[in-house]
Subunit: 192 residues, 2 copies
DNA sequence: CGTTCAGTTGACTAAGGTCAATTCCCGTGG
DNA sequence: CCACGGGAATTGACCTTAGTCAACTGAACG
């Protein structure tokens, strides 16, 4: 599991053996049971996580309604940078959809990571940029696309994830109620 | 006009007289006629602009449809950081809704600004964070709110802007066609 | 005065929300 | 092995709202 993380970092910047030890010392293992929150609305996001096992979702709660806008699975970094970086309360939640195993690093340890590892700043910037742009695209897509095309896109891009979660969560991601998703499925299955 | 910019910066970090001169030398005046693009879809965003006069909108073009998701008016910074920072082609457009006067700084000059002015990095980070979070909130709101509540929010928060632009652009921001916006107005005016 | 263009209104369609009933799936206990 | 229970998913009936197309209104301008 730690090897997945080292490999993910190594894909971007080369780590010496000593640096690998530092990474190992800074990231702490943590588990979340299905349904538990990695980050709750109103809390400050205090860690960046790296998923070694499991599946999580990002969602906004708006008067009792869950609106799921992104997922994170194995080998993904998990963080609400919008809260983590300025250290302000989050407006989003991040929840485990399955039992999860993660390696996580705190804000302070991340500063240490930046200081003690060559090109770590570059790595951090690239990860943030990627997460930032990904988040913008996830959110934009609700704006520009219809529920139907969002569902078809999910079919194409994340067929594996569809097997791992309930209609309820899929519907929330697509932007409709489970009943409507059911109708969309009926409509579009006929089209092929 | 340059004073507005100096004041905006001075609100966050204190500038010496020499530093003010540097700012003046790095930001170049530029005008855009109504309808012209500050940034076009597919281009790399090469400048950060500061609006001294006029009004702009951010929009996504999705098969022929304009989707306006944000505005910038006097004293706002204008930039698509998602393109500017990683220097990759933009998926968004930024257009002048009125004749605009702007002060703009290029990517390279911004690096100079960071190097030659005390705490400029801090200023830059704060501006980016603010724009980033603002963008996320603008986009999230399409996700979590109905057109009707988006319109009411705009009525409350930007009554001034409503006077400055056409129903077409307002409707695009609210997320519906002009005809539907017209109906929303009729519905909600009765409610009060 | 017409012309033009934005904004409004009407009639109709399509799609999602809501509520309720029904079916499907799966695990448990008899 | 089968019957039952419970939650998830589907379906039906009906409502609300946005899209579409077309007609109309009204104000600005020459």
């Amino acid at each position: 599991m730690i090897n997945n993380l080292l490999e993910s970092i190594n894909n971007i910047i080369t780590l010496s053996t000593a640096e690998k030890e530092i990474v190992i010392s800074l990231f702490k293992a943590h588990t979340y049971k299905k349904g538990e929150l990695f980050l709750a609305d109103g809390q400050i996001c205090k860690h960046v996580g790296f998923v070694t096992k499991g599946l999580l979702r990002y969602y906004i709660n708006h008067d009792g309604e869950d609106k799921t806008y992104a997922f994170a699975e194995e080998s993904n970094f998990v963080c609400n940078y919008e809260s983590f970086i300025p250290r302000t309360p989050s407006t989003k939640n991040i929840q485990a959809l399955e039992d999860c195993e993660m390696l996580q690093i705190s804000y302070d340890d991340l500063q240490l990571f930046y200081k003690s590892i060559n090109h770590a700043e570059r790595f951090g910037r690239l990860v943030i940029e990627q997460v930032f742009i990904q988040t913008l695209q996830d959110l934009s897509s609700f704006y520009t696309e219809t529920p139907e095309s969002r569902y078809e896109k999910m079919l194409r891009k994340h067929p594996d994830l569809l097997q791992r979660m309930s209609q309820y969560h899929i519907a929330s991601y697509v932007g409709v109620k489970p009943q409507s998703l059911s109708r969309i499925r009926k409509r579009t299955s006929g089209k092929k």
